[in-house]
Amino acid sequence: MKVAKEPPKDALDGIKVADFSWILAGPLVTKCLADHGAMVVRIESGKRPCAHRAVAPFKDRKPGLNRAGYFAFYNANKLSFQMNIDHPRAKEVLRELIMWADVVVENFSPGTMDKKGMGYEELRKIKKDIIMLRTSNQGQTGPFAKHAALGMQLVALSGLSQLIGWPDGDPLQTTMVWTDFVVPQFGVAAIMAALDYRDKTGNGQILDLSQFEASLHFLAPPILDYVVNQNESMRMGNRCPCAAPHGAYRCEGEERWCVIAVFTDDEWEGLCKAMGYPPWTTHDKFSTLLARKENEDELDQLIEAWTINLSPEEVMSRLQAEGVAAGVVKNGQDIYEDPQLRQGNHLWPLEHKEMGMLTHMGQPFTMSETPARPRSPAPLLGEHTEYVCRQLLGISEENFSGLSSDGVFE
């Protein structure tokens, strides 16, 4: 009989996180920690629950704080601790929670935590080596620190929006708020460095993560181009200066598209072969990269005349077989069903307590010794309040029911 292999030890086993964050930029940081084995306690207010618990899509289209797909998607492996941190007796519990935690994460607008008596200096009095990640739109200091802004305003402010769209059209945004998915990576990397530093020196610290500042690292070359050459980069649709064709081509079906990118002569030959060498491909207008760049509009039309009669999957597989870069422009359904993402274990189907089988996001990378893994589905609101108090914080049963009847856990 085969002996069951012991589950691998998680990379962050034993690390404890008190997570006061909500919506995206903070919860994505703590999701990564949780997926790698950290114990993440999300402190949630019943009166003002995470906005993602309250937005569609809902299971069976029935709204409910435990029925929102968005919240569930990004919150596997966390515990939900419902409490009103403004309650007069909340301090008693918060104190225990900070004592328990290695890391505190929050993404309120700057000043909010301080007003609640939860600023870094206060936390440090409770636990000397606490690590506190504070992430906000524009950082904890400076004249615009408290400016209310959503991620999408940051996409505009950072210069990114200017780089999305057509040269003759408006600056656009991606479906997702791009910066929300840039910032968390910097946050997690920094927390790891801070934990390492704490282990070596006994010192905690405060990590001030300005989403504006971190995001600019994804735009550093065009920024330097402006600094040095005063060249303001602009959106160029799907064009690329050193490739032709390079774009999205309409395929058979409704809103079906395939992208194709040809950089080298070999790839051009591969494309011509895959298309069955139509006569126009031998024309001087298209024989070199420079010529193709010059006649790119016409080239795009000719290629689309070929793709329009094929499914995007067919275009992709025929071209990839000839060594040409091509890919289906995947919509939500395609991604949901994507065999690659499923086989790579990036999407986790988990039995959610109220919604049943539901896809939760995993992590985009795998680790040979300590892979991220699902241990529990996204929590119901307040699902672990008693567990956290009694088991993790060691609050007595009597004390817990007293706090509970006083309304601390609302």
Partner: protein, 418 residues
């Protein structure tokens, strides 16, 4: 400065060998910013990515690539051809004294050379090898070619991006591998922390496609729970409330601002209407709306259109700066759609001393760079030095650290190994 260096030194006794091309530079850059001694290993003639523009003063030259500058500052640089047997031997020697290897070659290339994770872990069991791959190590697309645009398509980002009457678009400055490389830094640092506690190294494998799919917000949930696919809407945004689209880009007197009519947990519409009213621009229709009872899940498109019409008229009377200043005072989420000229002038960034002027002695110049990605109170980061020139640290590393003789170095140079 000296004290900063000292504090920052807690990671600089760790070394990373960075074999990546443009697909992975950012990973090593994040490690280098955190203080790790990152050695960028280039082929003897220089990294192919040095031909990627833009260039310093628009001069296309391998030592003038701004793309190279941007993602390789804080690293040291040596040349080494790992395709040669001598190169592989030298690489293995370097691995013995290193903590990390980062690479973005085609899947399996390192194994073919006999320097894949398995072999390297035999030499140094603490080694962490991080591989940045288009689609990860397994699956039907694992060997597909995937430049940025293929990633943006296959990762699901493009479909919803663009104008309704035109094809889906990517982001004009490539982002797909920046996502992958930043995720690679996350995996690498998690593996590092695990190693600190257990002594065990491991292999981190990143999927660029999954790094993008990770960022799709509720796209997957919308399909799973509601069978909805959102089409691209240009300057409008879909999928937030009910079946309505919301305007995201608004013309004002001298340009565009970003703003969205959202009501719910965020209460700013009330404040905006008060502001409009104080300027005599809120009519009875707007004032009659009970914002606290407003339900985004039930609102109709025509109700939204009516509100947006009035807000649009109001914005069109002011300049970007006027709108930004006042909305900041009133805590309304609004921002100018900016270019990099405005980013460089931005008061908030300046007041936080964000920018760092980095010395480029080879150009007899200083260049202003984006500063540290995060402010650590105890272990502040900085940009210590510019990106390496081709082979700039060959002597330091080969003579000083590996103990080669000058004669050997010359032989290896002549042999095309370094």
């Amino acid at each position: 400065m000296a004290s900063t260096e000292k504090k920052n030194s807690f990671l600089n006794n760790h070394r990373a060998l960075d074999l990546t091309d443009n697909r992975g530079f950012l990973c090593g850059k994040i490690l280098a910013d955190l203080g790790i001694d990152v050695i960028k290993i280039e082929p003897p003639r220089g990294d192919p990515a040095r031909k990627i523009g833009p260039f310093y003063k628009n001069i296309a030259h391998p030592e003038k690539s701004l793309n190279w500058f941007a993602f390789n500052s804080n690293k040291r640089g040596i040349t080494l051809d790992i395709g040669t047997l001598d190169g592989q031997e030298i690489f293995k020697q370097l691995v013995q004294g290193s903590d990390f290897v980062i690479e973005s070659y085609d899947r399996g290339y390192m194994d073919e050379l006999g320097i894949g994770y398995k072999e390297l872990s035999k030499i140094n069991q603490r080694i962490i090898v991080t591989s940045i791959l288009p689609f990860g190590p397994v699956g039907p697309y694992k060997d597909y070619k995937a430049p940025d645009i293929v990633g943006m398509a296959m990762g699901g980002v493009m479909f919803g991006t663009g104008e309704p009457e035109r094809p889906p678009v990517r982001i004009s400055f490539p982002q797909a591998y920046l996502q992958a490389a930043s995720q690679a830094a996350v995996g690498t640092m998690i593996a590092h922390y695990y190693r600190q506690r257990t002594g065990k190294g491991q292999h981190v494998m990143v999927s660029m496609q999954a790094s993008l799919a990770w960022a799709l917000t509720n796209t997957i949930s919308w399909w799973e729970l509601d069978r909805q696919i959102f089409q691209r809407q240009g300057i409008y945004r879909a999928g937030i409330g009910a079946k309505v689209k919301l305007r995201l880009v608004w013309p004002c007197k001298d340009g565009l601002v970003s703003f969205m009519v959202i009501v719910g947990a965020l209460r700013y519409m009330e404040v905006l209407v008060q502001w409009m009213d104080s300027e005599g621009m809120a009519d009875e229709h707007l004032k009659a709306i009970k914002w606290r009872e407003f339900d985004m899940s039930k609102v109709t498109q025509s109700e939204i259109d009516e509100i947006e019409k009035r807000v649009g008229r109001f914005f069109s009377m002011y300049s970007r700066d006027e709108l930004y200043k006042e909305s900041s005072k009133r805590h309304i989420p609004l921002a100018p759609v900016s270019g990099f000229d405005a980013v460089l002038r931005n008061k908030q960034l300046r007041s936080r001393d964000y920018w760092v002027d980095v010395d480029h002695p080879e150009l007899k110049s200083k260049i202003r760079y984006p500063g540290p990605f995060l402010k650590f109170s105890e272990t502040p980061m900085t940009i210590r030095h510019r990106a390496p020139l081709i082979g700039e640290h060959n002597e330091d590393v080969y003579l000083g650290e590996l103990g080669m003789s000058k004669r050997e170095l010359v032989m290896l140079k002549e042999g095309g190994v370094i």
